[in-house]
């Protein structure tokens, strides 16, 4: 493998809208090239995380090295990268693209071009990729390959005449895909005599091997027993092992230009190896770093608190471990009067948030409360200070704030004609501004600018339900704009509950305030005292509800002098109270918080 000449290498990413069949195509390619024996094969074999398998989605990009004996008699080395389709993980896609020269653009022939098809293909074009369109799922009766080809040409502007028609499911025409890869995608370039330059594509923590780094060698040769240097970070580490994924880990002696593989090195934490960094030879270093990529920026923040206050340290450790495998989420300690000590965490989107939360509870057995997700606001104070607001609870007194800016996004929505009206209504209800509206056959493509704040909550769910699942949606962050924003505080029994406060546009403040008060009224069980619930902007109450006192709770019969039983019951009840959050004379069960926060999400 050490003498793989560049001309025999093809590096490519498989990109597509969610569920169009990327991982299934990867399965077929692996199978065709004999990467795995049939008995080792399972559906979407590269989706190795439990969550990926359960949800049937790819979250983490994966790499496989395959050998393909092509019709021209040459055996090629193919480095395949399967990518996620969901918009939250667009960052994974961009990293994969930087490691390849070409992309397979998979389009579901029954669905056609969707929002992420477009988003991903533009990313690939930006990365200078050669692109081969693949029409998948032609086995489906609803497949309309001719119409979809036309769409690819009209919407994306890619020639689609020689799109490869396949069924990843049945295995139809997989060889056609492989031939297109070797004939239509470019070979990498690079000079193995130059000083080593390898792109740090990804890194994760393996409990057995420690830190594992995925690299793409651009120039020079990476060897076992070399001492590598991370150029941006400025640290050097001896290499323990080098290898490739077949998809099993298989050690090799070295990796030359154009090749992809992994390194294990004596590194303690993944924090040492930032993706996008350039790896070079510590003894003969390169002079220049590779372009790298923009760091991922969390767009949605929320607080995570352990239900059991004693688990704070465990949460800290678990977040640390999880971050080893997912550098795109961020966490900083925070404390809340209502929820105690926890962390403010940043995510790439709501699905990302949900997945991290699920992994924490599943892999680390933690019981968590998440506060309402919030975007990052930029505040300018009267004295000219500028601050970034990650947590509505930290909002300074409004009289000190000159202006608030909120993030906007540019959203692309694909939707069948018949649902367009309601989708446009949804967008304008969410303060959206139309940028473009075009038709492709019976589908419309609407481009809108929207405040991110209006989208992170339930926009995606509403979009899907309004369109019966037919609308697709992609977005990119598109700058900050000043907005008439207010912080809404929630007071339970006249005491502010910081964990429930949120930001809203003034025009939506009343509606959202009323809805959360109503929800809390239903969620907090009646108790000994009546409890006022109020929503306020500053000192002004804009919505209020009252939870009435419970109507009856008394044991009818106290017989036979068995006072011990009553006393023991009392002890138990007092114990139970400890598990509730106390607000003056009111206890709010955890479940009410969780439900209120969820419902708002």
């Amino acid at each position: 493998m050490t003498d793989t000449s560049l001309a025999r290498i093809r590096n490519f990413a498989i990109i597509a809208h969610i569920d169009h069949g990327k991982s299934t195509l990867a399965d077929r390619l692996i199978q065709f090239c004999g990467g795995l024996a049939d008995r080792e094969m399972k559906e979407q074999v590269l989706d190795s995380m439990d969550i990926e398998r359960e949800r049937g989605i790819t979250i983490k990009a994966q790499t496989v090295r395959l050998e393909y004996p092509a019709k021209d008699g040459v055996t090629y080395v193919l480095n395949l990268m399967d990518t996620p389709g969901h918009v939250d993980f667009a960052y994974e896609v961009s990293r994969s693209l930087a490691a390849c020269e070409g992309s397979l653009l998979v389009v579901d022939a029954s669905q056609g071009v969707e929002a992420q098809t477009l988003a991903n293909v533009y990313q690939a074009l930006d990365a200078g990729h050669e692109i081969v369109p693949i029409l998948n799922k032609v086995d489906l009766p609803a497949a309309e390959p001719e119409r979809v080809k036309q769409q690819i040409e009209d919407v994306i502007g890619l020639p689609a005449d020689d799109a490869v028609m396949i069924s990843a499911k049945t295995g139809l025409n997989i060889e056609g895909v492989l031939e297109a890869i070797v004939t239509r995608l470019p070979a990498p370039t690079g000079d193995e005599t130059k000083p080593l330059q390898a792109l740090l594509v990804d890194s994760w923590y393996d409990p057995y091997l420690g830190v594992v780094i995925l690299v793409r060698v651009k120039q020079g040769r990476l060897r076992r027993n070399m001492r590598i240097r991370l150029m941006a970070k400025g640290t050097a580490h001896p290499v323990n092992d080098i290898g490739v994924f077949t998809p099993k880990m298989q050690p090799v002696d070295d990796l030359g230009p154009g090749e992809m593989g992994y390194i294990t090195a004596a590194m303690k934490t993944v924090a040492d190896c930032n993706v996008g960094d350039t790896i070079t030879d510590d003894r003969a270093p390169a002079t220049e770093q590779l372009p790298g990529f923009r760091p991922s920026i969390p767009v949605v923040w929320c607080g995570l608190f352990p239900t059991d206050a004693d688990e704070f340290e465990k949460l800290r450790e678990s977040l640390g471990k999880l971050r080893l495998n997912d550098s795109s989420f961020h966490f900083d300690p925070e404390s809340s009067a209502a929820l105690g000590f926890g962390f403010r965490c940043g995510f790439l989107g709501l699905l990302h948030l949900e997945i991290v939360q699920e992994r924490l509870s599943r892999e680390f057995d933690l019981d968590l409360i998440a506060t309402a997700p919030s975007v990052v606001y930029k505040l300018t104070k009267n004295n000219g200070d500028e601050i970034e607001l990650h947590n509505p609870a930290d909002m300074p007194d409004p009289s000190l704030v000159k202006s608030i800016q909120e993030p906007w996004i540019k959203a692309t929505i694909f939707v069948p004609d018949e649902y367009l009206g309601s989708i446009l209504a949804l967008c304008s209800e969410r303060r959206g501004v139309q940028v473009d509206l075009t038709y492709v056959g019976n589908r419309a493509m609407a481009v809108y600018r929207l405040p991110l704040n209006e989208v992170v909550f339930d926009f995606y769910d509403r979009l899907k339900s309004i369109s019966r699942g037919y609308a697709s949606f992609d977005y990119a962050v598109d700058g900050y704009e000043e907005g008439d924003l207010v912080k809404i505080s929630i007071l339970v029994n006249n005491e502010p509950v910081d964990a429930l406060s949120f930001m809203a546009h003034r025009s939506a403040a009343d509606r959202r305030a009323r809805s959360i008060c109503e929800k809390l009224k239903d969620l907090i069980p009646r108790q000994l005292f009546k409890i006022p619930i109020q929503a306020a902007i500053g000192g002004k109450v804009i919505a209020r509800e009252t939870i009435g006192a419970m109507s009856k709770d008394v044991t009818a019969k106290c017989y036979g002098g068995d006072i011990s039983r009553k006393r023991k019951l009392l002890d138990k009840q007092k114990e139970g109270k400890k598990r509730m959050r106390q607000f003056g004379k009111v206890e709010i069960p955890q479940s009410a918080f969780i439900a209120a926060l969820k419902m708002d999400a």
Binding site: R526, L528, G561, I563
Partner: protein, 384 residues
Amino acid sequence: MTETLALYIHWPFCASKCPYCDFNSHVRERVDGASYVAALRAELAHEATRAGRRPLASIFFGGGTPSLMPPEGVALLIEDARRLFDATADIEITLEANPTSVEIGRLRAFHAAGVNRISLGVQSLNAEALAFLGRRHDVGEAIAALEAARTIFPRVSFDLIYARPGQSLDSWRAELRQALALAADHLSLYQLTIEPGTQFATLFGRGAFTLPEGDAAAALYLATAEEAARFGLAPYEVSNYAKPGAESRHNLAYWRHGDYLGIGAGAHQRLTLGGRITASRRHRAPEEWRARVERDGHARTEEEALSAIDLAREVMLMGLRLTEGVDPAYLATRSGLTLAEATDPAMLVACMDEGYLHWTETGHLATTVEGLLRLDAMLPVLLR
């Protein structure tokens, strides 16, 4: 050692087990009444020696179904008690009876034995409800028993169970009025509750029936007090109503946290011994209880000296069931803790403000009607 005593005597047998009942009651094909009475007498003698001579203000035969006891046995136990303690002149001697014809026939014998107050387990005056509650008597027997009891005993009380499945406010008012017309000077009116381990708990868990809850249960409770008041019966405890002076002195001893001896299987007791207040209970299984009494003279299984905080809790949680409330001075003598030490002061104020608690004219801390309705929720936040 001169605390006035109340004496409880437990008869653990019933003709059948009622589906709602979680008392220490057992069904046996044959009960050797004489030897159980002998064991009760032995245990009474044993405990009397420990307790020392004291004034005795009440005796209560409870169960189970003590109206199934041999009346001679009841007579012997009363005689023993009078001999072992100093019975007060107005000693109250109550026996619980079920209103079946068999038991009605023995009421005179119980009276002759010394019983001066009878408490009848009527439970309902509605045939369907009696069947649902698994009772062995019918409405006619219940009425006959009440009429007989009123001619024989100077004091008569009976129990009813309400807030039954599907029971409407109006139908309960009607049933209660009928009952009040038959009542003497005391009534125990209990809302049906589902106790773990009972047949009803299984059925209820399966969803076989539902009970009035929340607002509906509160309305039933308030209607009950209203109807009782029209007949001159005032609530003096959560579920007990009496004409002034006709309160059950024996049960008041529990609620006021006085000293009481409990004899018989599973009976509980609070007794001042050597300056400390002890809590103890006896073996619950009748056969084992008897074997232990025969062997050791008593069948106490646990006995602990109560801590100050436990005592304070008990005094409060029992006393707040009473409309007369808790006397802070008694709380302090009984437990060693002041009211301020026994309660959370902020919660005390909150409960006052909310109208759940009030100070009586005599300076007792007492629960209002609104407070009584929510007593179980109030106690854990109020008490330390």
